[in-house]
Amino acid sequence: MTLRPLQEPTFLILTSLAAGPQHGYAIMTDAEQVSGGRVRLRAGTLYAALDRLCADGLVEIGGEEVVDGRLRRYYRLTHAGTERLAAEAAHLRSNAAVATRRLGLAGGAA
C-alpha cells in the first residue's frame, strides 16, 4: 500500500507529539516553532486534524488535567503514529538528499 504524503500541518502535529504527550495549545506553539514561524496552526485546523489522526489510530488521548479551571487534554503518538512519522521523515530525507545532490552537481546555482 502506497502511503500518501502527510500534509504539513499533520506532519508538524505528529512531530510535536514525537517529543512526548502535549496539550492542544502546546502543539500549536511547538508547530509554529518547528516550522520557524512559517506555519501557524489555528484551533479549528488543529482539532480537525487531531480528530482525523485519532480516528486513523495515529494519535490517542494520553491524559487530562484541569489548569486554572480549564480542561487540558494531552495527546500522544500511538505506535502506528510513530511508524507513520518515521516513514514520512525518511521519505522527506530521501527527497531532500536527491535535491541537495542535484543542486551540488549543478554547482549550487539554484
Binding site: A43, G44, T45, L46
Partner: protein
C-alpha cells in the same frame, strides 16, 4: 484585571461558544471546553474574535461533520435520512424523466386508445434520462450502492452537459436532485438501510406517488374530477405539502424533507425572477447561480465518492465494509 477586560474575555468566550456549537454533538461533548481554553489562550489581543479564527473554526466544524458522515459515525438520524433519500431520489428522477419526456403522457393517451409512433422515444434525446434512472432504481433495489452512486454521478454530469437548456429551472432541479442522489448513495449505510426503513410497501407507494404527481404535472390529458392548468399545479403543490407534512412526523422524515428542499431552491429562485407568462427561465445572474450551485454539489459528490473509494482501497473497513453495518447495529436485518 480590569472589569472591562473581564467583560471582553467573557464576550469572546461567548462568541467562541457560538462557533463551537457548529461542531457535532459528540465532538463538542469531548472537546468543547478544551478547545475554548486553547482559543482563549491563543486569541491575538485576548478580547476580539478574529475573522481568520472564525473561518478556521467553521472550516474545522465542516471537515469533522463531513468526515463523520463519510465514515458512518455521524448522527444516525442523518445517516438514515441519507439512506432513505438514496431510495427516494432515484424514484423521483425516474418519475421526472418519464414526465418531462412525455413518456407518461404517451402512455396515458395510449391507455385511452390514442396510439402514437412507438419509436418516438428512440428519436428523443430524453431517452438516457429515462433509461438511466430506471437502471438506477434497479441498482438501488439490488442495494448495489457504489455502482448506483457512480451511475447517479454520470447521469447528473450528463444532464448538466447534454440538456440544451442549461439555465432552466427544471435542469437546475434535476442536477441538484441527481447530486443529492449521488451523495446519498455514495455515503454509507446506503439504500439497503433505506429499504429497511421504508419497507417494500412504502417504497412502492413512493414510486407510484411520484408517477401520479408526474402524470398530473406533465400528462396532458384531462382526468375526471381533476382540474387543468393552474388548478392542477395547485393540486400538485397541495399534495406535496400534505406528503411533506406527513414526513415531518418522524425525525428521519424531517431530515429527508430538509434535504429535498435543496433541489426545490431553483423553483423558489425562479419565482423571484419570473416575468410574464410562459416557460419560466432564470435570468443571467440566476442562471449562473443555479449552475454554480449544481457544480458545487457535483464537486462535493466527486469528493465524497473519492473519499469512500480511498478508504475502501486502504482497507480501513469502516466506510468500505458491508453497506449496512451501521444500520444493522440499530435494526437487525
Amino acid at each position: 484585571m480590569s472589569g472591562s477586560t473581564v467583560s471582553g474575555a467573557d464576550v469572546l468566550a461567548r462568541r467562541y461558544r457560538w462557533l463551537l456549537a457548529l461542531y457535532p454533538l459528540a465532538h463538542r461533548r469531548l472537546h468543547r471546553e478544551e478547545m475554548l481554553g486553547v482559543l482563549l489562550a491563543s486569541a491575538e489581543d485576548g478580547r476580539r474574535l478574529g475573522l481568520a479564527d472564525a473561518a478556521d473554526l467553521i472550516g474545522g466544524a465542516l471537515r469533522i461533520r463531513f468526515r463523520s458522515v463519510a465514515r458512518g459515525s455521524g448522527d444516525p438520524r442523518w445517516r438514515d435520512a441519507l439512506a432513505v433519500l438514496g431510495v427516494v431520489a432515484p424514484l423521483l428522477l425516474l418519475a421526472e424523466g418519464l414526465g418531462t419526456s412525455d413518456a407518461l403522457g404517451v402512455a396515458i393517451r395510449a391507455a385511452r386508445g390514442s396510439f402514437e409512433d412507438p419509436f418516438w422515444l428512440v428519436y428523443s434525446w430524453w431517452w438516457p434520462f429515462i433509461a438511466g434512472p430506471a437502471v438506477l432504481v434497479v441498482l438501488v433495489l439490488l442495494s448495489l450502492r457504489r455502482t448506483a452512486a457512480t451511475l447517479a454521478l454520470v447521469l447528473t454530469a450528463a444532464h448538466t452537459v447534454m440538456i440544451p437548456s442549461p439555465g432552466s429551472i427544471g435542469t437546475a432541479m434535476w442536477v441538484l436532485l441527481g447530486g443529492l442522489a449521488t451523495v446519498a448513495l455514495a455515503l454509507p449505510p446506503g439504500p439497503r438501510r433505506g429499504l429497511e426503513i421504508l419497507g417494500w410497501w412504502r417504497t412502492a407507494l413512493i414510486g407510484v406517488g411520484a408517477l401520479v404527481l408526474a402524470a398530473l404535472l406533465y400528462g396532458d390529458p384531462s382526468f375526471k374530477g381533476v382540474p387543468n392548468g393552474q388548478g392542477r399545479i395547485e393540486l400538485v403543490f397541495k399534495l406535496v405539502a400534505v406528503i411533506g407534512a406527513a414526513c415531518l412526523l418522524t425525525p428521519v422524515g424531517r431530515r429527508v424533507v430538509a434535504l429535498l428542499v435543496i433541489p426545490a431552491i431553483p423553483l423558489f429562485a425562479g419565482d423571484l425572477v419570473e416575468s410574464g407568462v410562459g416557460p419560466v427561465w432564470l435570468d443571467g445572474p440566476g442562471q449562473r447561480e443555479a449552475l454554480l450551485f449544481g457544480s458545487a454539489l457535483l464537486v462535493l459528490c466527486v469528493i465524497a465518492i473519492a473519499a469512500q473509494w480511498r478508504r475502501h482501497r486502504q482497507g480501513t473497513g469502516r466506510a468500505g465494509g458491508p453497506d449496512i453495518r451501521p444500520g444493522n447495529r440499530d435494526t437487525p436485518a
